[in-house]
């Protein structure tokens, strides 16, 4: 069943100027903030827990748990950071919020500022979205002029909080939270060794919250409707609605908002959403959640619900919300070669398993592509995937194997056909 009323995209296309505070408030903007500042902070955390809001950047970590971790930290100051370094291929939903409803992201970040008594929030927007950075700068200026950022926000004595807008420079790895913080500090954006957790030692070595753009927008929705109602939009494995991005061989590509738990077939085939393939050929597989996500075969995706639990149980993942559709003309080896080229390009080079591992993996895929595989090469591939997963320092290297393993599981015959 299609979504009755959009939650995250309710203002999109309605506002003539998305940076206008006046229009934003006309459509319910800042209602959540007004409600939050008269709530007990513990009660806000309770609502987020009840909502079972999972982080929308890809890792799907329960947001309430992340907030509680930071809330419990005694160290000050605390920093609020929004990860707007949307770089997972097939993902372009944060772009929509940043461009079409930037104040909704700002509202979520101000609520976080209130909960944690923070004075400084940062938003790190990918360099390729330079035109959107300009929109966001304007939205921040307007929010400041209207008293929703700056000193004594909404007239509340001592509620001082402002936003800094930081540009990325074209490095996928900066979407990894610790690399992102290094980049904010004006350093090269390479990941840090963890632990310590960023909620303990984050930006400028201070306790830091890092959440995705859509997650911050969800926070306002939770406060507005209450945790229970938000949960009920989704399933017991994750509440709310999710922005999804359809691309590849799909008739109606674009960003859509769906309730978690919606039948995947409806997303793919109904005219309101995907509308089936664009090529007339059937779907062969889908790459979910970005390059670091798994590939689902046509068998695997049958009768699935777009839900965290149902997906995980079937070795799939929601991830960032990317749904890249590939039809039967695409060979699994060719697809994986393209994915691996991306990882080779984006590996930051800090740790050897990822730097060399991605290169060696690409060489192997290209060898398969030439049908030059030798006996034992598939086993070698499996070993290499194990090494890169277990030995890499950050999420980039650790997730290189996800798509490759699922491709191997689903299309082993195509790999075997490349062995002489």
């Amino acid at each position: 069943m299609a979504l009755k009323e959009p939650v995250l995209l309710k203002r999109v296309e309605k506002m003539t100027d998305p940076t206008s505070v006046e229009e934003f408030t006309k459509y319910g903007g800042f209602d959540a903030l007004k409600k939050a500042v008269i709530m007990d902070k513990e009660a806000i955390l309770d609502e987020l827990d009840t909502a079972h809001l999972r982080g929308r950047g890809g890792a799907a970590y329960p947001l309430g748990r992340k907030w509680r971790h930071l809330y419990g930290s005694q160290n000050t100051p605390k920093y609020i950071v929004c990860n707007a370094d949307e770089g997972e291929p097939g993902t372009f939903k944060d772009k929509m919020l940043l461009e079409k409803d930037p104040l909704s992201v700002i509202e979520g970040m101000v609520i976080a500022g209130y909960v944690f008594g923070s004075n400084d929030g940062y938003i790190y927007i990918r360099g390729e979205y330079r035109h959107i950075q300009a929109v966001f700068h304007q939205a921040v200026r307007n929010a400041r002029a209207a008293g929703y950022l700056g000193k004594n926000i909404m007239g509340i004595e001592g509620f001082d909080y402002d936003l800094h807008i930081i540009s990325g420079g074209g490095a996928y790895v900066c979407g990894e939270n610790s690399a992102l913080l290094n980049s904010v500090e004006g350093k090269t954006g390479r990941p840090r060794v963890k632990p310590p957790h960023l909620a303990d030692v984050g930006l400028y070595l201070k306790p830091t919250l890092v959440n995705n753009v859509e997650s911050f927008a969800c926070v306002s929705a939770v406060i507005n409707m209450g945790g229970e109602a938000f949960l009920n939009l989704g399933t017991k494995d994750g509440g709310g609605t999710k922005l999804i991005c359809l691309s590849g061989h799909i008739k109606n590509p674009g960003v859509y908002e769906v309730e978690l738990g919606m039948p995947l077939d409806e997303i793919l085939y109904s005219e309101e959403y995907g509308g089936g393939t664009s090529t007339g050929r059937p779907i062969k597989f889908i790459h979910f959640g970005g390059q670091s996500g798994p590939i689902g075969t046509s068998e695997q995706i049958k009768d699935r619900l777009y839900d965290y639990g149902d997906f995980w149980y079937n070795k799939l993942a929601i991830g960032s919300g990317a749904i890249v559709v590939m039809d039967t003309s695409v060979n699994a080896i060719d697809y994986m070669t393209s994915v691996m080229e991306f990882f080779v390009h984006e590996s930051c080079g800090k740790c050897t398993p990822c730097r060399l591992g991605t290169t060696r993996l690409l060489e192997l895929f290209k060898k398969f592509q030439r049908h030059g595989g030798k006996q034992g090469d598939i086993e070698k591939l499996e070993k290499m995937l194990e090494h890169i997963t277990n030995l890499s320092a950050c999420g980039l290297g650790q997730s290189v194997s996800v798509s490759a393993r699922s491709a191997l599981a689903g299309y082993r015959d195509e790999f075997e056909a490349c062995i002489n």
Partner: protein
């Protein structure tokens, strides 16, 4: 660098407070404002001085981030997205069309210094692939004809990026 040019660069460096935190925005803005689309040595030295960093640190950043360039670029660099959603939406054909139209191979600049083209990873426009990005503008749903007229229009100034 004459005094006017220097003042303009200083304005860009300090427009958002001139903190080390802003270095990427500063360098990208300086690069966009430059004639040849790169961070020259003098500019890097000026940024280092104003942000109280060493030149080595500035160059570490310029060489690390893909958007920043150390060498002069063509006036119009056409960046063709090659991440998988675009790759399997015929981004290779875009490269072939560009090669045919411009007469130079991928990675080379045309003799008049106007055009060059190369692949880049995802620009976040997967719904309109295949795409070309020039400066801040994305051109989507491309085919041979559209590419041909895009090049003509860039050359005669009818499309401004």
């Amino acid at each position: 660098m004459d005094i006017r040019e220097r003042n303009e660069k200083l304005r860009i460096i300090h427009q958002d407070g001139g903190e080390q935190e802003n270095i990427l925005e500063i360098l990208i803005d300086l690069q966009f404002a430059s004639e040849e689309g790169y961070i020259d040595k003098e500019t890097a030295a000026l940024v280092a001085q104003e942000l109280h960093m060493t030149e080595t640190r500035v160059y570490e950043i310029v060489s690390y981030y893909a958007m920043l360039k150390e060498k002069p670029q063509a006036k119009f660099v056409l960046k063709v997205c090659n991440s998988s959603p675009c790759h399997f939406s015929r981004s290779e054909e875009v490269i072939l069309s560009l090669e045919k139209k411009l007469g130079v191979p991928i990675g080379k600049t045309t003799d008049d210094g106007l055009f060059a083209y190369h692949y880049i990873p995802c620009v976040g426009a997967c719904d309109i692939g295949p795409v070309v990005k020039i400066r801040d503008t994305v051109f989507g749903s491309l085919d041979d004809d559209k590419i041909s007229s895009l090049i003509d229009n860039l050359r005669n100034g009818e499309v401004v990026v």
